[in-house]
């Protein structure tokens, strides 16, 4: 990576930083709106996912990473989703009884 290349990266880092700050303010602001729990959870999680992907893609350079890392993370994501489905499935199971 050349010096000029790094310099253009730094500009990106700073705009990501600003975006993260704005989203932090947004998510705190929304929490004061007294929305119903469904909407509140949805909005908070959407904002968190956006913030998380900004960190992962730009600060952790995932946007330009080698294939093997994508495969590792896709595999992780599959297991993570299964893990998250467990409480949902168990709740549905209790409701249906």
């Amino acid at each position: 990576m050349s010096v000029n290349n790094v310099k253009s990266h730094i500009k990106v880092y700073i705009s990501i930083f600003v975006a993260l700050m704005v989203l932090t303010v947004l998510t705190v602001f929304v929490s004061y709106l007294e929305l119903s729990i469904g909407y509140a959870v949805t909005i908070a999680m959407i904002v968190a996912v956006i913030k998380g992907s900004l960190v992962a893609n730009y600060f952790m350079h995932l946007i330009s990473e080698k294939k093997v890392i994508y495969w590792v993370l896709i595999l992780t994501l599959v297991f993570f989703v299964i893990l998250m489905l467990l409480p949902i499935l168990s709740t549905l199971d209790q409701v249906s009884r």
């Binding site: 930083f17 932090t24 960190v55 600060f59 080698k66 992780t76 998250m84």
Partner: protein, 197 residues
Amino acid sequence: MMEIPYTSKPHSETGLYNAKFGIWLFIASEVMLFGALFTAYILLRVGASEWPKGAEILNVPLATINTVVLISSSITMVMSWASLKMNEFSKYKVYMLLTFLLGVVFLVIKFFEYNAKFHHGYFPSTNMFFATYFTLTGLHGLHVIGGMIVNFYFLTIGSKMWNTDKERFTNRIEIAGLYWHFVDLVWIFLFPALYLL
């Protein structure tokens, strides 16, 4: 003595130097660790007959400041790596010191937060809410401490490597950074889940 292979040169199988592949595997395992606790939190919360709103008993302004502190420490961390890439070692030192200090600020704020909770008689044993709150933030706090130890090492004695192997040292900072950003990423999810919802 045999040298450790692939500390700077990419491995032909992965296209990466080994430590980078290693840290990503470690981060993958960390995703599952925090993920398991997060599902436990969801399950306990959904199953509870009553669950307090985080904002009513936790200190949202302090946690918001801590969010800003951690995000700021992420940018100083990435800047310390970028400084090395541009061959500016003195700037690296400044940014790495800032990253470390922001870690200290995060822990001090966390200390005051915990202290206030203990003062009000809120402990992990108080109820399910506080049990999950202390477990999740406690584990995250330990990760912050771990990252700070590594950062402190690279700020002090570990930085000697810059004189002997610039590329390898720069890679080490990238690795430390990947871990540090991950700790920031975890907080990005913990903050709304515990404090705002």
